[in-house]
């Protein structure tokens, strides 16, 4: 093994992370655009989860989520606030995976079919999908987002981190 092995390994991991960032950015950009271009369809799909009876809140979610995904996709592509964006996306993915799982369990119980045979349009922007496949994809996307939080791969970023350290308001000096 050569002496520069650790350096090459770090370089490889960094490059890998940059590629993941671009890949995730492209995926979220695509998923967001698919929904943003058909907001009414997304609204109908979101309604199936019975999240709320409040029309304003439902509209807010249906109108906001697609554009939020686009926003995060652009940030990841450009390399702005990468770790914060990755955390926000991970939390969003986790929440929606749980909702999709809950809905799939309801369908599984109602239709009396094997869990992995449950197929429906979860409103994720990819059309009808088998639930096990959907959950696996969501798990992978969450894992990749979580990987970006690790702090590697700062290359090709416009501004990797927005928060550089914080100053609180002035307090009395008691010397």
């Amino acid at each position: 093994m050569t002496d520069d092995y650790p350096i090459r390994r770090v370089a490889f991991v960094n490059l890998f992370t940059v590629l993941i960032r671009w890949l995730l950015g492209a995926i979220f950009l695509y998923l967001g655009l698919t929904k943003a271009l058909h907001p009414v369809e997304f609204l109908k799909l979101l309604r199936q989860y019975d999240l709320t009876r409040d029309a304003l809140l439902l509209n807010f979610l249906a109108a906001g989520l697609p554009w939020f995904e686009i926003f995060c996709g652009v940030l990841l592509w450009a390399g702005v606030a990468v770790r914060g964006t990755a955390v926000a996306l991970s939390l969003m993915l986790l929440t929606f995976s749980l909702l999709v799982l809950h809905r799939a369990l309801q369908l599984h119980a109602a239709l009396h079919i094997p869990f992995c045979a449950v197929k429906f349009d979860c409103g994720c922007g990819t059309g009808e999908e088998f639930i096990c496949h959907k959950l696996a994809v969501n798990f992978l996307l969450t894992a990749l987002s979580a990987w970006l939080v690790s702090g590697r791969g700062k290359q090709f970023c416009v501004r990797y981190s927005l928060v550089r350290g914080s100053k609180l308001p002035r307090t009395p000096d008691l010397r």
Binding site: F71, R83, K167
Partner: protein
């Protein structure tokens, strides 16, 4: 003598987790602001204050019995509770829809078909002569659809068929602007049922004359 208190900045060290979480909150707030702005300026954006799924959608549906093809092909009065005062929707099946389509009153405007799907689907294929009325953008279609519905005696509203609720949303909107419930009939099989019955569809704009048997 006491020295006056001096204001000096105090640096609070924040751990990496705190920094990342703070950044996530910043991204979330900026993202929400961006999303609302984008929805506002998008021509396809949703109106946040509008209830797209009013309660009436869940009302019961009553089948209507056919009474012949002379002057009126269908008699809403013959339906249970079909006096116009009841809230339930009246539905017709594929056979009744075809009967209405071939009724001579269709050309006179006494019978109208209303397509409650979006523009993209409407252009791809609709019941010939049907009016386009996307219930999620009613303001765009009311000027054309309302006069036709006011003049008509029977209005057949349809969407894709199956579990689609857009025909109910459209019928509800029409009812809200004063179209009598007794005139409104839901064709629940929708365009899917229409094409499976080998009925013609018109592509493009209303009365374009481009007829075909299948949806493009």
């Amino acid at each position: 003598m006491k020295e006056p208190l001096r204001q000096t900045p105090v640096k609070i060290r924040q751990g990496p987790v705190g920094k990342v979480l703070r950044e996530a909150v910043l991204v979330a707030v900026a993202g929400v602001v961006f999303a609302l702005f984008a929805n506002q300026i998008s021509p396809r954006g949703l109106t946040l204050t509008r209830n797209y799924f009013p309660d009436g959608i869940d009302k019961a549906i009553l089948p209507v019995t056919a009474t012949g093809t002379n002057t009126t092909a269908l008699s809403p009065e013959s339906a249970p509770g079909g006096s116009g005062k009841q809230e339930a929707w009246q539905s017709i099946d594929g056979h009744q829809a075809v009967q209405l389509f071939h009724n001579s009153h269709l050309k006179q405007g006494a019978i109208v078909f209303v397509d409650a799907r979006d523009e993209e689907h409407y252009i791809a294929g609709h019941v010939p002569g049907a009016y386009e009325f996307d219930p999620y953008h009613p303001e765009k279609y009311f000027p054309t659809v309302l006069p036709a519905c006011r003049a008509a005696e029977q209005i057949v509203v349809y969407c894709n068929g199956g579990d689609c609720e857009d025909s109910k949303s459209a019928a509800l909107l029409l009812r809200e602007v004063g179209i009598a419930n007794r005139k409104l009939f839901l064709y629940e099989d929708g365009i899917t049922g229409w094409t499976s019955n080998h009925q013609p569809v018109e592509t493009g704009a209303r009365n374009s004359g481009n007829l075909s048997i299948t949806i493009q």
